[in-house]
């Protein structure tokens, strides 16, 4: 027998579940089932025309010990993450700090910096291919005017990754906007007190701004990291992994395995390794930043 109170509580749970039912369906069908299925596939040999055949940890062994392309893709991706995430973050923060100086034309500048980050990547990738064309691109002209040697950018294995990193920094506007919102919330009094103590601009930035926005720095770093590990479209459009596999990134190689070579089991093992790497790195960042991140009111 249910007491009236219990019954009311249950009814409320029912109402709540009805409202969130679209998410429940989505969670089961688009997250939970695929995660489990993906793990199962990773233990099988599986092409779309045959059914999955269980082979234990063979895919993982092969990836880690016998696939030089996988190691190449992994190191390329780590290279990209290590440079693109901090550089994009720093540029975004620098832009936000500059915009926060109450300069004239704030909304114009904000638009200019933000816009590239919401434009379709396919279109901007094609634009950058042309922008960095070794002979006819605008950047080549500027380099020549400055008396600098010509660079082949996307067709030079040494320069292809830096070129892609440069392009990713161009798309950092969304991060800038988040930083700007955070900066506007830092109480002015803190700066005034620091000024009274004769603090320089750098010291104010280092000892007032950075601690006050540290949760946002952490947020942007983690979101940036997860995104950078899944870097795909630009490499697919601009370089297709070349030259000499120098831009064969993790997601690109995963995609090729799944949809060009139809090695669904092998690609699933790659996906699970990626998932683990992201989880572990996020955990490490959270842990190591715990002492340095300052939360208001705690």
């Amino acid at each position: 027998m249910l007491t009236p109170r219990k019954r009311r509580e249950l009814r409320k749970v029912g109402v709540g579940l009805v409202f969130i039912s679209p998410w429940i369906v989505g969670f089961l069908a688009l997250n939970l089932y695929p995660i489990i299925a993906s793990f199962y596939y990773s233990l099988t040999r599986y092409s779309p025309i045959s059914s999955p055949r269980f082979i234990g940890l063979f895919n993982y062994e092969k990836l880690l010990y016998f696939d030089p392309l996988f190691i190449k893709a992994l190191t390329n991706t780590l290279y990209f993450v290590v440079f693109a995430v901090p550089l994009g973050n720093m540029l975004a923060l620098a832009l936000a700090v500059l915009l926060n100086q109450k300069v004239k034309g704030l909304s114009v500048f904000r638009t200019i910096f933000y816009l590239p980050s919401i434009l379709p990547l396919v279109a901007t990738s094609i634009v950058w291919t042309w922008l960095l064309h070794p002979q006819y691109g605008a950047v080549s002209v500027i380099l020549a005017e400055l008396g600098l040697p010509a660079i082949s950018w996307f067709s030079d294995p040494q320069w292809a990754k830096p070129a892609l990193i440069m392009m990713s920094m161009w798309g950092t506007g969304w991060m800038m906007l988040i930083y700007l919102a955070a900066l506007q919330d830092v109480p002015q009094e803190l700066y005034d007190v620091a000024s009274l103590d004769g603090a320089s601009l750098w010291r104010k930035f280092r000892h007032v701004t950075v601690p006050m926005i540290s949760p946002i720095i952490l947020f942007n770093t983690i979101v940036g990291l997860i995104g950078a590990f899944q870097y795909f479209t630009e490499a697919y459009i601009i370089t297709e992994g070349g030259p000499g596999d120098s831009t064969l990134f993790y997601s690109l190689y995963l995609f090729q395995n799944a949809f060009a070579y139809f090695k669904m089991g092998y690609a699933s093992a790659m996906a699970w390794l990626l998932f683990l790497v992201i989880l572990i790195l996020t955990f490490i960042i959270f842990r190591s930043s715990a002492k340095r991140v300052y939360y208001h009111g705690s």
Binding site: I20, G26, P120, I178, A181, A182, A258, S268
Partner: protein, 282 residues
């Protein structure tokens, strides 16, 4: 004396900031400037060494030529249909779900909400292959359904944003309606949602941009040229072209980019607002 010195310092800082911003803006604009001028170059000015910055005369014919080279108008129309269908779904589903996570009090709600947020961490690649397998089993491959239906099932980012917004609406408002005998449904549609317009506008905008820009989804699911959205059509056209077609390619890229720029300019305030709505501010 001290005061005027302070003002001067502030002025100098301001001037330095302004000069830096102008320089950086020039760098940020360069790719788009290069796209537009190239899209207006006659073929004989495309491959000059050194290149010309602004062509003379401007070749507007590149745009009709681009439309002839590929059914770009159809691609644009497809993108628009997919994006609008996804936006409608995102508004409906995320409103319902966010309401259930903010205005209805039930046991276990906050624990489930943590689960919602945790799915943000999940890389797309983990679910990509099983989703493809499932969607092909139910015959959805080579249709827009895999691109649209997921938007009708809520997204953690939007749920979070709308929930934060709904939590900010005073509880008393709900109590009043409940005492009048109104159901939760009436409460949601007549009271809460009208108050959530700015947050809903942000959801609509972001979903539109995501759908418009999505590339890997269409790449995986669509085979039929008639179904291609702009992103996929443009990518395949790019892969099949040589260097002499760059003015046409830039014209096509401009057409893919302009709708987003127009939307941005009309709804700039919503965009900027969206960032603070996420609750990231503090």
């Amino acid at each position: 004396m001290i005061a005027s010195f302070g003002v001067k310092r502030a002025n100098i800082n301001n001037i330095v900031s302004f000069v830096l911003l102008v320089g950086l803006s020039a760098a940020f604009i360069l790719p788009l400037f290069w796209m537009i001028t190239t899209s207006l170059k006659p073929i004989d000015q495309l491959l000059l060494d050194p290149p010309v910055w602004i062509p003379e005369p401007l070749e507007f014919e590149n745009y009709p030529n681009a439309l002839e080279a590929q059914p770009f108008l159809q691609y644009l129309g497809n993108s628009l249909q997919i994006a609008v269908a996804a936006v409608i779904g995102a508004i409906i589903s995320n409103s319902l779900v966010a309401y259930g996570f903010s205005r209805v009090e039930w046991k276990g709600r906050d624990a489930v909400f943590v689960l919602v947020l945790s799915t943000l961490m999940l890389p797309y690649h983990v679910v990509m292959i099983p989703l493809f397998v499932s969607f092909s089993k139910i015959g959805w491959v080579n249709s827009w359904l895999p691109l649209i239906v997921p938007a009708w099932l809520g997204h953690p980012f939007f749920i979070f944003m709308l929930r934060q917004f709904m939590l900010g609406i005073p509880k008393e408002l709900s109590e009043a309606t409940r005492i009048d005998g109104g159901s939760e449904w009436i409460l949601l549609t007549r009271v809460i949602l009208p108050l959530c317009k700015p947050a809903l506008a942000t959801v609509a905008l972001f979903q539109f941009i995501w759908s418009w820009n999505d590339f890997i989804g269409p790449l995986i699911y669509l085979n039929d040229r008639d179904l291609y959205p702009m992103s996929l059509g443009l990518a395949l056209y790019h892969n099949s072209q040589g260097i002499t077609d760059f003015s046409i390619l830039m014209a096509a890229s401009t057409m893919a980019v302009v709708p987003i720029i127009i939307i941005f300019f009309f709804m700039q305030r919503v965009f900027i607002q969206g960032i603070s709505l996420t609750g990231l501010k503090g």
